[in-house]
Symmetry: C2
Subunit: 346 residues, 2 copies
Amino acid sequence: MEKITINDIARLTGLSKGTVDRVLHNRGEVSKKSYQKVMDTIKELGYEPNLYASLLARAEQRTIALLLPAHEPGTYWELAAKGEAKAQAAIKPLSLVTRQFNYNQYSADSFREACARVLESNPAGVVMAPMFQYETQVFAQELQTRSIPYSLIDTKLETPGYLSFYGIPAYKSGYLCAAMLIGEGPVKEVLIVRIMRDKGRQSDPTVLRRSGFMDYMLEHNPGCTIRSLFIDPEDPAATDSALDAFFDEFPGVRHIAMLNSRVHLIVPFLERHPIDIRVVGFDNLDANLDALRRGTVSALIAQRPEEQVHQAIQALADRIVFQRFPEKTDNYQHMDILIRYNAEDY
Amino acid sequence: MEKITINDIARLTGLSKGTVDRVLHNRGEVSKKSYQKVMDTIKELGYEPNLYASLLARAEQRTIALLLPAHEPGTYWELAAKGEAKAQAAIKPLSLVTRQFNYNQYSADSFREACARVLESNPAGVVMAPMFQYETQVFAQELQTRSIPYSLIDTKLETPGYLSFYGIPAYKSGYLCAAMLIGEGPVKEVLIVRIMRDKGRQSDPTVLRRSGFMDYMLEHNPGCTIRSLFIDPEDPAATDSALDAFFDEFPGVRHIAMLNSRVHLIVPFLERHPIDIRVVGFDNLDANLDALRRGTVSALIAQRPEEQVHQAIQALADRIVFQRFPEKTDNYQHMDILIRYNAEDY
DNA sequence: AAAATTTCCGTTACCGTGCACGGAAATTCA
DNA sequence: TGAATTTCCGTGCACGGTAACGGAAATTTT
């Protein structure tokens, strides 16, 4: 089981390793005859280049671009950004670094502009959390022509030739949310609190999540009335009064779901009005975890965005450095259920 | 931002790279003074060895030994063994391989014998799931004198100089189990099904788990009667009749907990007797997951043993190859709550 | 046919570490 | 004090590829 090296090939073909190298990277300047001879004996001996030697000789640092929505402290995308740090450490020994590019998740223009910046940086790979179907496709197309591999996280938009996807199944997460909210028991009415800005937009995962929620309700609790209330994350006072007005009108509601990461927005209201309400939300933001530990929120469904970026970066690194392709393209992750008693070590 | 190499260190200290190398791998033959000087400038310049060059130069394979209880198909320890495969792939580029050594978890002799085999194989590191306090300490001692780093998983026994521990907090897991079983509601009586063989043994995590369970009951439901039933995993018929007898005597019981991974053992009984019983168990064995999906088991608390071995191996690899020490020695993992609706993508 | 190109290939100096080998300096022994 | 060890350290090759450089051979141009 001897290791075949480039020198063996050179010796056997009667050529020099310089020529063999030229063949391997087909950068020309080799006669047809020599080319064939080298290719043949490579195949015959099953030669495989030594990655380390190759990387050592090249010794350049390549970078993986991270294309994420801009994030304020304490918001969902900040969690994702945290995964970058972990991944950094892991890929550093591979001479890879990451670099983050942000865009405004409510502006396609800003996304386009961020894409341009990414391309300009000439990355070895890209991890992105896409929001805009069309723009993302255009970008993916461009990446493909430049043969830059890319992975998707969070939202799986249909784009050509992505290396891998990491995220939770959106529909099922809504279904699970409903199950956590009402269980099997009959409930007369539930409230879904939604974000005003999302009203027109209806991003893909939000729609799917709500549809999973609705289906669970239909299957397990068809008689239940589902009410909606829109709040403005920028305006806590308005949020409070909207909730006040809502409970004036529908005082019997005892179950609230929020299908996004913003459940902490309604926590102040809930804690001022000591009615026993069951509340289920998403994602392990610090503010959410605090509310969970205090008992104001009953359960959270968490999707570990840190893990998503971590794994996506890892997959890209494997592809870039080792030419390894992931076994599965679509990696749906486990949805974590957090309650008061298992949130501590999270 | 120039890359610091071993030559830079040599030049700056006025020594040769041979000496620097000896310091880096502390294989002696270096005077105290030189050692200090090298260490200082390494730290000062933030030198990090080039992985590729190192691997290229060495090109030998070292092995990490995995010391686990022997596992039949479909048992808890089989899950742990699965983590080995994942870790294999990750550490392969580091010229590391893993090798598994098994012992009978009910025989200290067999453990001792397995330890001997591990030592004989001269591993670069050891990951072990210990069961026997005394024997484990002896073994750990021996590893230390040979300066072989080791990590613990699953059960944290007090041993000298372990590199890291990965597992779930045993006490809290029992507490959580009780919470999942009865929630806040008052319950008159619950049944804990236990494994006969464990009766005398009382391994550390089992005791802690039960005590967490009891404390939750005491705090949230003091009036509840807690009954125990011992079953023999080797004898399904006896298990069935024991359960039959139990429910003849206490027909009112509607809540069952099993504080180990064997909840699947009582599933056949439960599915033949269509009483609406809430059942909570541990660990994502296939048989348990199936029962969960069918609704026979209400919830499982999973501890991802695959992750435990994976991370433990990774930590060891970091230590062995990069001389990097983990930030935290004790890594308590998150306890996953599995119910019917989030078990699919697990 | 000589000169000018072009094509093709071998040589060689790296890349950053690991480690065997041998020798100088310091220490211990006789 | 000289010999024998021991301690400590430098030298130099190996690991397997990469790519610049320059030169010989083949081809084209004048």
